[in-house]
Symmetry: C2
Subunit: 552 residues, 2 copies
């Protein structure tokens, strides 16, 4: 069977230590992959570059929240209800299928169900009665009185449930953004696309909070003339950000700004600009929380256009849901020029009553009461450690007080760029892969750029000579002490050693030869031009650092 | 109630954005914490420093494997059987307790059970019948024909199950090490020690593979005279590495080397040397896989000595278990000077028979057959996708062939330094915390060092003046473009702004005043000495970089 590019890359990836199928010694499990020594470097390089764009260049801070997420959080966010795939079972061959994977054209699923014409792709049997399956991995926290939980389907909810704390961190000024990198989980019914459809994947998400009345971005001015390539499901257009907003192709500045930031990031990371575009979600494609969404798609020869980043306007959906479900005040405030004095109802918790009644839970209850949004109904029910507790009236007082109000409360809107790191990593490998024949042998070069390359320099003593080895090891040590990853190699012909480095994308190779002993110089070879320059040993670190920096 | 240092730190941590209790708006859940904007920076700084020690200074590479782990892996590793806590339930108040948390002295548990004298710490009722509870979070992969899985209790197993691939990456030379950073999970029965005992935690582990006949480390020579502080459960001794081995206080060079690396890392990260020691595990304390283990313990005023790193000799336990359970050849080879020719039995898979019989599983079976270790019994059973499949004899041939053997096979031994990042982070906060009275107000300084500090520089225009703000923003932007985290602040008195930065551990504050307009200079204040120096604007980046580098 002829190998296509995916097969070639995955074989190279396994042989050289980029990507391994997980649990292979126990027969493996679809939807799980390991990053080997080189893959994990690329992944970290991509993530660190991403952080540079969002933490240092943009207006974001970073947080880390657990992957295990309480049922309550994901019920409020709509995932318990909506995060499902329509699934169908074959009674004959006992396989289960995601309906979308049998009927490739999304728009024809409804029709196929109605016409009752679905066939098992394995045994050809007639399939009936599709049903929704929730795609979250579930687990339980604690034993006995345990609580239901899921592995998070997105990192975003950890950010939303901390909004009131993060708003305080941002000193109550919008817009500001919060990023999170980490694992996301999706218990796919039957994943069949290798590393493109994982059950456990690496995400990088930004949730940027805006006043719904003002979706402008403070850095927009710097980028408004930049062009992006859009595909509206019919044709491609190249358009400047400013024009895209003026023509209402993109709804607001914030969306347009993050589309450009995404494009800039992906191209800097090494995506082929000719294999990159934005595509707008049709209304029936939108996730349950989104009002508008643009995907950054990357082209793969095996898979076609792949959704690698989604940039969605989640509007007020999530924060509003958590306010409604938790009762906690998570509003932002549009400040008046001068504060107003108004009469408000406020809850004053009485610790003397709460303490004896609720013991170690009293402190939690006090915090929840103080931020509780008073409704018309008189009863106050709080959710403590998974149990709904009615708070007796003697435990608090509702007082009418005069309060200085500094502004109007509102629910912020969220613009969310959400990145699938594994897909981006695979596409960068595919876009960087090249092969040619050299002396009748397949010669492979991964043209990874200086930032993404897992190893920055090979270090080779030309001959196996103690003096050369000693100098080489010192150079290697010095590079590493300066934070530059190296691969020290003294075996095989120099051509063979270059070939090994070309195949894993190492941009520079340093060779130490007999002249090095006398002139304190070495040869540095460039992977892409194969040109060699001679350079003083004490200038190596500076030279390599400059090369990497110049690129970024 | 008087606050102790833990309360003070956790309040500061919440107020300023280091650490938040998770899911607080839904009443929270014990054993889960979020890292806020500042906490996540500290965590990343600690992890990156750790990588420097293990990836660049030592002989390790890094991998990333899934947190969801197949049942088979954790059954083989002994975790299904052994990763348990003895638990006891109270029938009256419906609480469950880890026995160790009721009876603080480990050695008295057996006796207490025998004497039947255990009382409920909540209601005082008599407790009976303790039983072991497995501490892994369990879940299922897929629907219908689903497979049992757990959230990993340690990152190590992902490394062990890839050993044969990693050994190839290391070009079949020992010693070499493999690190992994990421989440670990432990479904504690009733965690009560805040951030010290988490159900989901951040780990950094290294598994370093040695020939059991040669547990020397190539870098030992550089550090043999360094001293470590040991506590043998009776007294503390300060001893050089070389002497510790000579006197058989520590069993081998590899263990001693990683103890020193651990000490060096922790002190560089900002642990107080007076609150640091190594303690040896008593034999009844050892995990099921360990033959010797030293804990690096850090002292906390609230918790006493806390185990933050375990440095264990796991011997051949794990690799041997996976060889036995999977049948895959995961041996290392001690090479002969010259290869020998020997007669061996080998399995030749017959794809013509495997293909029609096993369809899409045939490829996996072929790979497993080729590495299958032939036993005396004739039947070959393979575990494919969770199902044990008997392979009919017609599908393979066992041939007696002459093979060139390059050396003796052996199961490598593993030395494992395993770090609990959250505990280390908390201890660094506690060791860095200081407070004093200033004008009758509590004044707090976090003396975090330059590497660990979440924000490296505050940037302050002295007065709210458009020209000063403009220069300040340019300085801020320039620092960020050079990878230096900043906090831009134009509000409040300069004293108030210094105080905000002191409280979160920012080592430098840059103030831009009216003189800056004319002399292109700014003032840089040092947090610890409060001394100020005047420096040219175009020298700021270099100066700050030097300060951070000099420290590391």
């Amino acid at each position: 069977m002829a190998q296509d590019i995916y097969d070639k890359i995955m074989m190279l990836a396994k042989r050289r230590g980029f990507i391994y199928p997980s649990f292979e010694i126990y027969g493996g499990s679809a939807g799980f992959y390991d990053y080997g020594p080189l893959g994990s470097r690329i992944k970290e390089n991509i993530e660190n570059l991403w952080r540079k764009f969002y933490l240092l260049k943009d207006i974001c801070v970073e947080i880390n929240t657990p992957t295990i997420t309480l049922f309550e959080v994901l019920e409020a966010s709509g995932h318990v209800e909506e995060f499902t795939d329509l699934t169908i079972d074959c009674k004959k061959c006992k396989m289960s299928y995601k309906l979308e994977s049998i009927i490739s054209d999304n728009t024809k699923i409804e029709q196929a169900i109605k016409e009752d014409k679905i066939k098992c792709p394995t045994c050809g049997d007639h399939l009936k009665n599709p049903y929704p399956v929730n795609l979250m991995f579930s687990t339980k926290i604690g034993i006995g009185n345990s609580r239901d939980a899921f592995l998070r389907p997105e990192t975003a909810q950890g950010i939303f449930t901390d909004f009131h704390l993060l708003y305080r961190y941002a000193r109550e000024k919008l817009p500001f953004g919060v990023i999170q990198l980490g694992k996301g989980y999706r218990n796919e019914v039957s994943p069949r696309q290798g590393i493109i459809r994982l059950r456990e994947f690496s995400m990088a998400e930004a949730e940027v909070f805006f006043d719904p009345k003002d979706k402008t971005h403070p850095n927009f001015e710097y980028v408004k003339d930049k062009e992006i390539l859009l595909f509206d499901n019919e044709k491609e257009i190249k358009i400047s950000l400013e024009r895209a907003i003026k023509n209402k192709v993109v709804n607001n500045q914030a969306l347009a700004y993050y589309m450009y930031l995404t494009q800039d990031f992906l191209l800097t990371a090494g995506v082929d600009p000719k294999k990159f575009r934005f595509r707008k979600h049709a209304s029936d494609e939108l996730a349950h929380y989104a009002t508008e969404c643009w995907d950054a798609e990357l082209f793969s020869k095996r898979f076609g256009w792949i959704e690698c980043v989604g940039i969605a306007d989640r509007s007020a959906y999530d924060i509003q849901s958590h306010i409604d479900s938790s009762g906690v005040d998570m509003y932002a405030v549009r400040k008046y020029d001068k504060p107003k004095i108004v009469e408000v109802k406020k809850i004053i918790p009485k610790m003397k009553a709460l303490g004896p009644l609720f013991k170690d839970k009293a402190g939690k209850i006090k915090i929840l009461l103080e931020t509780y949004k008073i409704k018309d109904d008189k009863e106050i029910n709080l959710n403590i450690d998974g149990v709904t507790i009615k708070i007796p009236e003697k435990c608090y007082e509702i007082v009418q007080i005069k309060e200085k109000i500094s502004g109007d409360k509102y629910v912020p809107h969220v613009i969310e760029p959400s990145y699938g790191i594994d897909r981006i990593l695979y596409c960068i490998l595919e876009h960087s892969y090249s092969e040619k024949k050299k002396k009748d042998e397949e010669y492979r070069i991964l043209k990874l750029n200086q930032i993404i390359a897992p190893i920055k320099t090979g270090v080779f003593p030309l001959l196996n000579d103690e003096r050369l080895n000693k100098i080489s090891k010192e150079i290697d040590r010095n590079l590493r002490n300066n934070g530059i990853s190296t691969y020290y190699d003294e075996s095989g012909t120099i051509g063979r050693r270059y070939a090994r480095m070309d195949e894993i994308g190492t941009p520079y190779c340093i060779t130490i030869d007999h002249d090095s002993i006398n002139d304190n110089s070495v040869t540095i070879r460039d992977r892409d031009t194969t040109k060699q320059i001679r350079i003083k040993i004490d200038k190596i670190v500076e030279h390599i650092k400059d090369q990497i920096l110049n690129y970024s």
